[in-house]
Amino acid sequence: MLFEAFKRERVEKIFGIPGGAIIHVYDELCSYENEMDFFLFRHEQGATHAADGYARSTGKPGVVLVTSGPGATNTVTGIATAYMDSVPLVVITGQVSTSAIGTDAFQEVDITGVSMPITKHNHLVTSVEELPQVLKEAFHIATTGRPGPVLIDLPKSLQTAEGEFRYPRKLEIPGYKPTLVGHPRQIKRAVELLKNSKKPLVIAGGGVNLSGTAHLLNQFLDKFGIPVVNTLMGHGLNPQDERLYLGGIGMHGSYYGNYAVVNADLIVALGVRFSDRITGDPKRFAPNAKIVHVDVDPAEIGKNVQVDVPVVGDLKNVLEEFLKFDFEADYSEWIEELQKVKESHPLTYEKHEKFIKPQHVVEAASRYFPPDTVVAADVGQNQMWVAQFYRFRNPRSFLCSGGLGTMGYALPAGIGAKIGNPHKEVLVIAGDGGFQMNIQELMTINRYKLPVKVIVLDNSALGMVRQWQQLFFGCRYSATVLNDNPDFAKIAEDVGIKALRIRRPDDVEGAIDVLVHSKEPMLIHALVDPRENVIPMVPPGGDIGQPLLSAPYDKEILQKTRGEQDE
């Protein structure tokens, strides 16, 4: 019954690990071998992140199939990651038989209770008759409005129960009617503000990627000549006029991006949620601007910042409406002002003759890999360097855990992205800390011979926390030094994945050239300068107009991480 529903929902790929309370479903899977592909992972967290990477990169819901108890709880981090970034997942967990529920049976856990605050919706199935309806609802709720994960808990006794399968065609959920059409009066008010503005700025958020409207937004920007910045989740924009693009904003945004926010007189925020990593101190965020906020989730509007014009609706509809308007606008002075700041405060780094700079690796990868490459970054310094130095020109091409900040996300998410995009290059960029959190999924790459490309930026530390300790805790490196890291290239080779280990700056471009052209999966273990910090940085809760623009090296770090003397 489950797989019949999957067929109707056009599910092609399933991610998971079997177990006692889902064994009947896995048995049934054998009969559907020709209709959908199943991918076995080595940890349920890996399977869930892979489904997430699949969903983010393709726009289709990711389907996860795991057992009860620990199988279910192992998906929790993956579900929370997807929830924070509004990624559509349908997670099916096995549950002990209905008669055993509540008895603390073997591998019993109340997963609907556990997952309640991290799912868009969840449901414990109580009868086989309701199953088709419940599944239809799950896919509908996961993928419409503001997307998100839905969990269905399926007791073992119902997995073998017989029932008539009648899949509902239409759904009537009384409490679920997302507003998709933006209110015409609010849209008109927004356009009026735009007409009268001298310094408008669009902030594009994750919603632009989720709603598949990057092309409409590019059109909108080019039509009216409005400059744009994006949040971490909003990468992938490509207006024809490159001058309009001002990069990322927030804690590690570019100086000029944040400058644009602080100096704009009008902010048009599209599918953003004004997270604290973007606003810094919300009272000093965009102090001179009126704010137009477009989002499909009304609860986001006015949650973190005060909004002047709220527009609840699907970006597709709202952008199409915006594009219908015609007016002469001249923001060229503003664009010139921004251009000057961009030139005087570029995003940059200094190369070193002895040490590989992590930014160099990222920037080289950005040059060597084809433009439609999907990049999965992990969390921490590596993620910020990717956001700063990799130029994403396509929507759904940058995957990372933005809201939850889940280390260990990149490798399995990259695997999921490759499964969903077999014809695109998929590049995983992780730090040494996060890479070890789901390193077991290297086996999955080899098992399915998926030509995923991996770069581990190894600075022998939990780098972002180390950076905070250097800057805000007087260089006391409490539990952040990883001076005992393994040789990741050897591990990869042992698993059956081709690998290179590099430590000299001269080797960077050559290695990346090999990586791009490899037909098989391949890993590069790059030993990078452990002293490097992510700059610019707005201290937490600070004014995004006043970031730290430099952070001197701590000379002790080399000694502590690599046992080498600094010069």
Binding site: T112, G113, M116, P117, K120, H121, L124, T126, I141, I173, P174, G175, Y176, D297, P298, A299, G302, K303
Partner: protein, 173 residues
């Protein structure tokens, strides 16, 4: 909108009568740090629907968030704010009060019950149970007065149920 002034607010929430709904709503309040002063649950007009009446403290911004977050719960069908002014709404709460009595206090309490139009629903030699219904202010005033004359052993309150008055709800519809 006021960011600082906290006040009490009543929200009437229509939900699908499914297992776990109350838990979902309670969870939401806990998770977002909203404070519930009282909550009451019962069947609504339509079969399959229940009505929750929630009294919550917070500033305007928090109240707005509560309403929006409630709407995100799939089983929540409608969230209706109840007018803050007593002229525009009716509210009722019922309390059962178990009180100790002796010859001296018995008469005092009987008088109070009469003034407040309460009911005595159980009497024994040294105690009784009183039922009192009304707006919360009335229930609280009654409890205070009973406390000053006799010893209260136990109180059970239903929490508030409330509706907007006829004219207002017609205009809204």
């Amino acid at each position: 909108m006021s960011e600082t002034v906290e006040h009490e607010h009543i929200v009437s929430v229509l939900v699908c009568n499914k297992p776990g709904v109350l838990r979902r709503v309670a969870n939401l309040f806990a998770r977002r740090g909203f404070n519930i002063s009282s909550i009451s649950v019962g069947e609504a007009k339509d079969p399959g629907l229940s009505r929750l009446t929630i009294v919550v403290r917070g500033n305007d911004r928090i109240i707005e968030q509560i309403e929006k977050q409630l709407y995100k719960v799939i089983e929540v069908v409608k969230v209706s704010p109840i007018a803050p002014s007593p002229e525009k709404r009716v509210e009722r709460e019922m309390a059962l009060i178990k009180v100790q009595i002796d010859e001296k206090t018995k008469l005092e309490i009987l008088q109070l019950v009469e003034i407040f139009r309460g009911k005595i629903i159980d009497v024994a030699k040294d105690g009784m149970i009183v039922e009192i219904t009304g707006a919360r202010s009335k229930v609280e005033a009654f409890i205070k007065l009973v406390e000053s004359s006799g010893k209260i052993v136990e109180i059970a309150r239903t929490g508030i149920v409330a509706m907007n008055r006829w004219n207002l709800s017609k205009k809204e519809a």
